[in-house]
């Protein structure tokens, strides 16, 4: 059907409007992610210091996009390096740990290149970082993957030329329930002990050893009220604050 304009001349082709489907049965909840370095640590410091730090962090985020990522994601980081080829250095690795609060927040990437394990600790808000790309999205069973140092090297090798994976939904991130096999003992830390609370290792140790390790369990720790730090209300406040600033 050719729509003629008022001048009775065939105007530019205007495609028909796309139908907008609103599924009222399915309520799409937007997932909230607040980067852990925004949450102030527990202490008696003046909240003004954290407020000023958050302003600086938001300033940096406006200029440079720091994507949402968790421990277990595979990232590619390009940094500016005076002594590298083309002044740019690209490193691909799995995020083992995220530490630090405020502007000094860091994350450690690990990869095995030519049978040599390499770990680099990057600062999130360092101006030398040019780009952070998320190559693979998956959470692991633990918050801290330091045990990968004592695991077989195949679990830490990742292809440097991996293609970035696009996110399907703005909803759940898949959890990889991989049980990692370890090198023979001795390890750098005694990962079988309950203080590390690791669920992602396939312990092939004899039962005797596992029972011995349970001797060091401290079951009263989870009920200790002095160690409680409820961050839900603080998170809500900071989430609103950060979102408002970012939209400006």
């Amino acid at each position: 059907v050719c729509r003629l304009s008022s001048d009775e001349k065939p105007g530019k082709f205007q495609p028909p409007p796309k139908p907008v489907i609103i599924d009222k049965l399915k309520q799409i909840e937007e997932r909230r992610f607040l980067s852990p370095e925004f949450i102030p640590p527990r202490g008696r410091m003046d909240p003004l210091k954290f407020f000023i730090e958050r302003k600086d962090m938001i300033q940096r985020r406006k200029v440079f996009n720091i994507p949402e990522f968790y421990v277990g994601h595979i990232l590619a980081v390009t940094t500016a390096d005076l002594y590298a080829k083309d002044k740019v250095n690209r490193f691909v690795g799995i995020c083992i740990q995220r530490g630090g609060k405020g502007l000094g927040a860091t994350f450690v990437l690990r990869n095995v290149i030519e049978d040599q394990g390499v770990e680099i600790c990057y600062e999130l808000y360092n101006p030398r970082i040019q780009a952070i790309e998320v190559l693979k999205l998956e959470k692991r069973l633990d918050d801290n993957l330091m045990y990968l140092r004592d695991a077989l090297p195949e679990y830490s090798t990742f292809d440097v030329n991996m293609k970035p994976e696009t996110r399907l939904d703005h909803e759940e991130i898949p959890v990889n329930k991989l049980q990692v096999r370890m090198k023979p003992k001795p390890w750098s830390k005694r990962w079988e002990r309950p203080r590390y609370n690791i669920k992602g290792i396939k312990f092939e140790l004899p039962e005797k050893v596992m029972k011995e390790a349970q001797k060091w369990s401290q079951p009263w720790l989870e009920f200790d009220m002095l160690r409680e730090y409820d961050t839900s209300k603080i998170e809500e406040k900071i989430w609103k604050e950060v979102n408002e600033e970012l939209k400006k």
Binding site: Y83, T106, C121
Partner: protein
């Protein structure tokens, strides 16, 4: 390796030779150990020269990677890596497969020949 991370490379640390020289790669019943660090402090970091005892001989070497974490944005390796060197700075081997940190490029004058054999950089 068996020991945990130390504060750098000092006397009597076991070290891994990373180039393809015969001295470094032929098996011996004792691992190559550091006997002296050419530094005011007795601890060697990446880019320092040390004296190694390999196969009953003394040989100078250059530290290319260490287990101890260095300044941020620099790589930390899973083993203490070392490249065998002559007294005048010429490397003994012909190829270095393992990755080498870009920081060594800062002292291009002293290490130009070592950096020329290196294949991968981190």
């Amino acid at each position: 390796s068996i020991t945990g991370a130390c504060g750098g490379i000092q006397k009597l640390t076991r070290v891994r030779v990373v180039d393809n020289s015969t001295l470094g790669n032929t098996p011996y019943h004792r691992p190559p150990k550091c006997i002296h660090v050419y530094n005011k402090a007795g601890v060697g970091k990446v880019g320092d020269k040390i004296l190694l005892a390999i196969k009953g001989e003394k040989k100078k070497a250059l530290i290319v990677g260490q287990k101890m974490p260095g300044p941020t944005m620099t790589p930390k390796f899973d083993s203490n890596n070392v490249v065998l060197i002559e007294d005048n700075g010429n490397p003994v081997g012909t190829r270095i497969k393992t990755p080498i940190p870009y920081i060594l490029r800062q002292r291009e004058g002293e290490f130009s020949k070592v950096l020329a054999i290196a294949r991968n950089f981190v």
